[in-house]
Symmetry: C2
Amino acid sequence: MTFSISRDTLLNNLVIMQKGLPNRTPLPILTTIKFEVREDHIVLTSSNTDIAIQVLVDEDDLTITKSGVVAISGKYLIDIVRKVDSKRIEFSLIEDRIIVIKADRSEFKLRLMDANDYPEIDFLDGTTEPLTIDADLLKNIIRETSYAAAISEKRPILTGVNFKYNENKLYAVATDSYRLSQKELKLRSKSDNFDIVIPSKSLDELSKILDTATSDVHLYVSPNKVLFKIDNILFQTRLLEGAYPNTVRIIPTEFPVVIPFNKEILLSAVERVSLLSPKDKDTNYNIIKLKLNSNHSVEIHSTNSEIGDANEVVSPSADVTGSVINIAFSSRYLVEALKSFNSPEIVINFAGEVKPFVIKGTEDENLLHLILPVRID
Amino acid sequence: MTFSISRDTLLNNLVIMQKGLPNRTPLPILTTIKFEVREDHIVLTSSNTDIAIQVLVDEDDLTITKSGVVAISGKYLIDIVRKVDSKRIEFSLIEDRIIVIKADRSEFKLRLMDANDYPEIDFLDGTTEPLTIDADLLKNIIRETSYAAAISEKRPILTGVNFKYNENKLYAVATDSYRLSQKELKLRSKSDNFDIVIPSKSLDELSKILDTATSDVHLYVSPNKVLFKIDNILFQTRLLEGAYPNTVRIIPTEFPVVIPFNKEILLSAVERVSLLSPKDKDTNYNIIKLKLNSNHSVEIHSTNSEIGDANEVVSPSADVTGSVINIAFSSRYLVEALKSFNSPEIVINFAGEVKPFVIKGTEDENLLHLILPVRID
């Protein structure tokens, strides 16, 4: 097996493969990247328990002299290619299990694992009609929802994002049971309907790969996995098993109090107030209070018996609906929600002091964020 | 006690005070910054077991309405001032132990500790003749030596940098007993001779403060502490007790092999080779080998039975003195040493395969770095 390739082309592809390498694994072979070097292209594969990635490399700057299949340590290979400053890198198998990597005056000999031990990855064959979606749009949906998924594994299904496709409408919902983010949009794709839960960790890795996309993404769905086709990249992830909770019924529909804010002004006031706020004992997040006074001024407040108090007066950015309200919640949830909106202006809709409140952005169509209040003593 | 001050002036001074706050302390009062508000100025004090800092604030943008002395939580105060975006901040004591901090529409009430509990700091009175030194020069000396001091407390004296002043000559030496860095320079100051060991941690904090210096630094030395006067700042640190080892005798004086290198080329070759190199069991650092061949080519090499080998050929940047040598050492020591030099060209002087080698920079006058080799099996 002998080939040479431009350092930059190889590095760009390895950075994608890296997303498929496991952090820790009982199966040492999974710490490698599988190189299937064929006559005129190379197929790279990496995988862990959640994700499998395959890239077809057939760039013009690839020169293959002899084909073969090897499994090279992912970590060491990526470290080396990153640090090398030559234009081209040459790979050649000198013994059954040693590969020589040459780059200008650097020479590395890496011991290999047996490529025959690499597990066969069963990528979906893509015969069904895919859902086609713009790469930036998909990246945006992930950004708007994935952060609201649960981190704790108490209810595993909540560590994923629920994607539903029904009659040209795509819904994406994530919740950790304290807050929820929901996005809804129309697509012109002709895919079959589906209702799946994708691990949010997988989506975060996918999101980084989407940056390099130059064309639309195709989604192929099966009962237990989903395949994303992005240019010459296959990105497949397992799905979470079980039924995703019906979140529609927890979203209030009537809002007696509606307050519009400038997002940045509200965000910095909330961040200042939470500097002193006490931690909620369940979530360890800082609890703050928001109060709409009868004169329609808004105060954001925190009290900490040991340290002190913080109080901010924030003016609504336009007319307020409703009279007074006094509600307490985790400042982190509001901060993260505000940051997920693109709009400079947002609106908070209150259903009552012990009911979830809903945030919408004036320019973020069909994005809805919900936060559960905590009880004020 | 009532005063107001520009937010930027206060923050700049608080950032200096922060260097004196302890990471952890059994004495809660030390987590505060002491504010002594006088008729026309404020004296700020912070201190921990090593360092004490005092700053005199008398900028034009300070308006004092009522004097007084308070001790305000350093962490919370700095967090608040950093996050506030108003131009001015107003402080007023409303009860014996509560201070109100107002900035535009933000209001913070902080509980105070009793300022009477703040320990009296005995700053050197500065009656002796100080050593005067340019702030950038002092910063440079710290940068060139402090990193070579020991981190481990096995031999506490080695966690400091030895500063000796003798007949207008200043020597600074640091060593962790595996490598050593030494700087020597002439000063025109008339101070008494001294021989002190300053904790390297204190020097690292001092170094950050030196960035703001607008004039020369004055050093006042006593048997157990040293005071640095920088503009309106007093920075005092305890000294390490005990005799610093005589390092002169371990520096070889005869070098049969001398190899000049381009610093950046050598550095990147060493960094690449150490990607695969095995760890030294004592220091946990990567061991690499440097070999001068009879044809005067230099090879840098590492072997790792599990992972593989790395080899780099580096051309000396000018004529080599001596014939062959083959020496092993910790790559991290060489990397850190090379980074401390300003010169683009450096010279490595070898005294023998089991003797320390010495690095000098062609443009770094009177800076010497020494590294102990490890035995090659």
